[in-house]
């Protein structure tokens, strides 16, 4: 504890030296391929959820293990910060750039700059929406549409024999690939059961506070809610709080389906407050480092690499929980 406070105090002291500098502190220093080690510039979305922090840690740890020098930046969920970070990596002449795009569109210009500088780009976790696929070498990540489908298919099976199932949806950050795709996959899967209806859908920005606030409003504006479908665990956890405050039992009165399977979510699943979680594996660091080495050495890599994922019911969560590190 005291170490953290010391760190905080040190941070305040450091801030004196930062007067007037906005955010981007990684503008100086040369990368470079002179000494043979690979330098990777990674522009992370932020740390908006437990999933993301596990993803960050996996990338940092596996870079160290693979002997790759990692330059890391946190965009705090802002596209302009990510573009700034990528530009600074281009200036620093890193060997490879990897990033998880905050939103799907608006990347062509900066990716073209990277291409002209002959720096290969790997997308992780989220895709970009661009017609020119030569702008990046490969896309490593989950299939979000598939995740949405898995969630929808479980609900369809669960709703067999029921006459009416009202679903409210807590979307992720508006415009983000996982939010768009998980919505799409879910909508596609529930077409199989006409009694399932999405009665309200709003963004909770992938955060607990957002999920709680939106769910509070949903509970008041929709008299009959049977199922909550949240695009990540954190929003689902926020929704649980809102449901409890309304005097209902999460997991029983209102069923909850989420995506991600981080530890707090798995705990709630094991406790019976969440009913079903579709896994979205954040530990893609080792795969990313392998791809980076191949790309830098000029080897061919597949255009799309999908991470391995599963789903969890309450029973499976109890068994898996002790092994969850994130």
């Amino acid at each position: 504890m005291s170490k953290r406070f010391l760190a905080a105090v040190a941070g305040v002291v450091l801030a004196v030296g930062l007067t007037g500098c906005g955010g981007d502190s990684s503008a100086s220093g040369g990368g470079g391929s002179d000494d043979g080690t690979i330098t990777m510039g990674f522009a992370q979305v932020g740390a908006e959820s437990g999933w993301r922090t596990a993803n960050t840690k996996s990338i940092q740890d596996s870079a160290k293990e693979a002997g790759i020098e990692l330059k890391f930046s946190d965009a705090q969920q802002k596209q302009e910060n990510q573009i700034k970070a990528i530009r600074s990596y281009i200036q620093q002449k890193v060997d490879v750039i990897a990033f998880s795009p905050v939103v799907e569109t608006g990347w062509d210009a900066v990716l073209l700059e990277a291409k002209r500088a002959n720096i290969p780009v790997i997308l992780t976790d989220r895709a970009v929406d661009s017609e020119d696929t030569s702008l990046y070498k490969t896309f490593l990540g989950s299939d979000f549409v598939e995740e949405g489908k898995k969630a929808g298919e479980w609900l369809v099976k669960e709703s067999a024999g029921k006459s009416e199932v009202n679903v409210v949806e807590l979307q992720g950050t508006t415009g983000a690939a996982p939010a768009i795709d998980r919505k799409e996959g879910f909508a596609e899967a529930i077409k199989a059961a006409p009694q399932i209806k999405v009665v309200a859908s709003q963004t909770g920005d992938f955060t607990r506070s957002g999920g709680k606030q939106v769910m509070e409003a949903f509970l008041k504006s929709n008299p009959k809610i049977d199922v909550v479908y949240a695009h990540n665990d954190d929003m689902g956890l926020g929704a649980i709080e809102a449901i409890e405050a309304a005097g209902k039992k999460p997991g029983v009165d209102i069923k909850i389906i989420t995506v991600d399977a981080v530890r707090d979510g798995m705990q709630a699943l094991a406790d019976g407050k969440i009913n079903f979680i579709v896994e979205c594996n954040p530990l893609l660091g080792p795969q990313l480092m392998d791809l980076a080495k191949k790309v830098v050495n000029g080897e061919q890599v597949p255009e799309r690499v999908v991470t391995e994922e599963t789903t969890f019911t309450q029973e499976q969560a109890k068994a898996e929980l002790p092994n969850r590190k994130y």
């Binding site: 504890m1 953290r4 406070f5 760190a7 905080a8 941070g11 305040v12 450091l14 801030a15 004196v16 930062l18 007067t19 007037g20 500098c21 906005g22 955010g23 932020g46 740390a47 908006e48 959820s49 437990g50 922090t53 960050t56 840690k57 705090q76 969920q77 979307q171 508006t174 415009g175 309200a200 859908s201 709003q202 963004t203 920005d205 955060t207 607990r208 506070s209 709680k212 606030q213 939106v214 509070e216 409003a217 949903f218 008041k220 504006s221 954190d234 956890l237 926020g238 709080e241 405050a245 309304a246 005097g247 707090d264």
Partner: protein, 368 residues
């Protein structure tokens, strides 16, 4: 221009139009969904959309109160969002690391440490502004950027979840009404009492109108400016406790993100000029309520997330236009208006200039 009629006095206070905006928003909700105004007792506390607005609006109200005093001294505090994150991070890390993570003792100790640290951060802001003389927008930008990093250091970048009933009370608890709104109203009453029943409010306004003249007139301008930054940071700290306790977790990255903008907007909607001087605490509270009502409206009317921001912007512009006498005159095609000489500072900030007995007195103080 001194009027004794209550309605005229009310109109002159600048509270009429924010109040109208708030009532229109609520009425629109009630029309779309009549149950919006419904209240019932659930587990011994009030339950309904209006209660949600109060509960979720409380942090913005508190921060806006602090911001209001800072703006009255012609300053601005951009670091409140970062202070919110730090406050929650410190408390949750302390509670999670305490011997008894569910005990009330851990919760109170954690909150005490967090608020003390927030006061220190406020001292730092005030020091840069009042002593070193850095422009407030730059001085507080330092902590705005660095603060979130400090919060991330404290939490190791993780979302820290705590299960502490005593801590939960601050943001999610109820004493018939949400505890958070009770805290916010108590702070409002205290600030109103201290600044309006003593000369302090007048001194704050005079510092905002002309710091140098106030100093020459014998005011401790530096101390006053310093104090308002400390107060703003403590308000942000308490708001941080509410936000993190509402979900029983500290989220260093998202807690209080962009809340400084909401707070500044609340102050402006409430009729306080960004150029400093005359301020309105009641208006600020109304402004914060309008902002939260807007958010709740979006959720409960089911406005698509893609157009939410545009919707909010349209409402905010409408409220600001309603408040500007010029825009009102154009809109209502009214020409029968008494001309008041424009105040260049207020004009620059795009705000109407309103002269009341109070500000006239302040100007006397300010020009010895």
């Amino acid at each position: 221009m001194t009027s004794t009629r209550p309605l005229d006095r009310f109109r002159a206070s600048g509270l009429l139009w924010p109040l109208v905006a708030l009532l229109v928003l609520l009425a629109a909700n009630a029309v779309v969904r009549p149950s919006f105004l419904a209240l019932r007792i659930q587990d011994g506390h009030l339950y309904g959309s209006l209660v949600d607005i109060l509960k979720n609006g409380a942090p913005t109200m508190l921060i806006a109160l602090g911001m209001c005093l800072v703006i009255a001294t012609r300053g601005i505090d951009l670091s409140v969002g970062a202070v919110v994150a730090i406050s929650g991070a410190v408390t949750c890390s302390y509670i999670a690391g305490a011997g008894d993570p569910t005990g009330a003792g851990a919760a109170f100790a954690g909150m005490g440490i967090a608020l003390a640290l927030c006061a220190v951060l406020g001292l730092w802001n005030g020091f840069l502004v009042a002593v070193v003389g850095i422009q407030p927008i730059i001085a507080t930008l330092v902590l705005m950027t660095a603060g979130r990093g400090i919060a991330m250091l404290i939490t190791d970048g993780q979302i820290i979840t705590v299960r502490n009933p005593a801590y939960r009370t601050v943001g999610a608890g109820f004493l018939l009404l949400p505890v958070s709104i009770l805290i916010a109203v108590a702070v409002f009453a205290l600030v109103a009492l201290v600044t309006r029943r003593t000369a302090l409010g007048l001194l704050i306004e005079s510092v905002g109108i002309n710091p140098e003249a106030s100093r020459l007139a014998g005011l401790r301008a530096r101390t006053i400016r310093w104090t308002v930054y400390v107060f703003a940071a403590i308000c942000a700290g308490v708001a941080g406790l509410m936000i993190s306790s509402n979900v029983s977790a500290a989220d260093a990255n998202n807690a209080g993100l962009w809340i400084e903008m909401d707070a500044i907007l609340a102050v402006v909607i409430g009729g306080t000029s960004l150029a400093g001087g005359r301020y309105s605490l009641t208006g600020t509270m109304l402004g914060a309520l309008i902002i939260q009502t807007l958010t709740t409206t979006v959720y409960s009317m089911g406005i698509a997330p893609e157009i939410t921001l545009v919707f909010k912007a349209v409402v905010v512009i409408a409220v600001c236009l309603l408040q500007a006498p010029k825009a009102r005159a154009v809109l209502l095609r009214r020409t029968r208006r008494r001309h008041t000489p424009p105040d260049p500072d207020a004009e620059a900030a795009g705000r109407p200039s309103t002269h009341t007995p109070t500000s006239a007195m302040v100007e006397k103080v300010a020009q010895p």
